[in-house]
Symmetry: none
């Protein structure tokens, strides 16, 4: 059987919120090392990758590797039935037709039990990039969310330009031009609330704000977001979640022709 108990159930709720707008259905792959999911978004433009390590659960038991084919909308609906302080347990058989979600209130007085039908989903081959990056930018997740929201008022895409002094986000549209410059902090790298940049090569790339805005649904999961940028390669947008894993999004840059439209 498979059983994974997550004491901080609110995390599972947040992970679900961070995926459901992008991916309609996907396989949750459960193995001894943990639960992982990779999927393209519905329009096959961006890619989501999720990892929940087994040591983030207590207990975690996986007798046999299984792949749970899940309709995200249905699972999101069920997750909304969990309170933020509930303990969430995911359970299924070795050859499952169903998955069960159990929500237990902290005082043990309320136990909710939701059984959801599974589906057969062809696991598509996903080329998850494994690149050296030209620049790795860390910043407060809320700040990145704010930048994406603000620049969406100006235009459809954002140009991210990174050099040793800092990073600039810019957009243009009918009403004018917007530019947001962040200086790198002089303090030790990756401290919370700080902008830090590891730079190998200066880089300037353009991305569709629509997708970046979807990615920022993960903001409640982490205080810091990391953008790993590389010329002509997809950007990786990562939210690391303490003690359990991460959610990563990948999005290819717009090529020059598209930029000029």
């Amino acid at each position: 059987m498979f059983e994974a108990r997550l004491v901080q159930g609110s995390l599972m709720k947040k992970f679900m919120e961070a995926i459901k707008d992008l991916v309609k259905e996907a396989n949750w792959d459960c193995t001894g090392t943990g639960i992982s999911l990779q999927a393209m978004d519905t329009s096959h433009v961006s890619l989501v990758s999720l990892l929940l390590r087994s040591d983030g659960f207590d207990p975690y038991r996986c007798d046999r590797n299984i792949s749970l084919g899940i309709n995200m909308e249905s699972m999101a609906k069920i997750m909304k039935c969990a309170s933020n302080d509930d303990v969430i347990t995911i359970r299924s058989e070795d050859h499952p037709d169903n998955v069960t979600f159990v929500f237990e209130s902290p005082n043990q007085e309320k136990v909710c039990d939701y059984e959801m039908k599974l589906m057969d989903i062809d696991s598509e081959h996903l080329g998850i990039p494994d690149t050296e990056y030209d620049a790795i930018i860390s910043m407060p997740a809320s700040e990145f969310q704010r930048i994406c929201r603000d620049l969406s008022n100006i235009g459809d895409s954002v140009k991210i330009t990174c050099n040793k002094d800092g990073v600039q986000f810019s957009a243009q549209g009918d009403t004018g031009i917007g530019k947001i410059a962040l200086k790198q902090n002089a303090v030790i790298d990756k401290e919370d609330g700080q902008v830090s940049i590891e730079l190998n090569d200066p880089v300037s790339l353009t991305f569709a704000l629509r997708y970046l805005t979807f990615f920022t649904k993960a903001t409640p999961l982490a205080s810091t977001v990391t953008l790993s940028v590389s010329a002509k390669n997809p950007v990786a947008v990562e939210y690391r979640v303490d003690d359990i894993g991460y959610i990563r999004y990948y999005l290819a840059p717009k090529i020059e022709e598209e930029e000029e439209n």
Copy 2:
């Protein structure tokens, strides 16, 4: 060139919120004494007058009088990209096609730069009344907002009746009649949180609540609002903003025939 730096940038955001629902486009007139704006609302019923004195900015520089023709909706969108604690700088050339808004975070780590196209706007002649008033009523701005909101539930217009004892706001509609009476406080005039009345002549006039409600969008700008009322003349609704200026609205009373409708 023209450059005006406002340390308390949130003020500019609030001024924008106080205008944008009423006026679609207007000229911001920039001179050595400050920035002013006068405009009729879209339906040409009420009038807005705004003054931001140069001494409220630091620094303020205006080499040549200029008139910035601004689409309020676009500017409002840009102002929403400023955080409340940002320092806002407005900048343009002597013969500008564009205006630039710069938002600097207090710690200087984030600098946003929005460039907006200007438009040519015919400056209409505005008959701003310069009247002796029969009554000048000061009251907490939030109280006036509450009165307008409450009476909007009852009817479309409010009758403001002022005599030496106090001021009464009344509305009637299909469901009945609502009356709100405020007594003048016995304390020294114009202390914050107090109702005070300077009365020359008792007066009773009726106004469209729709517009008064628009005016109360300026409530966050000031703790006190002043209503200057005069028989048969437009009421002036003024919000004075410490150290920088004011926003004033003018609205003609309904005449008797309309009142009876």
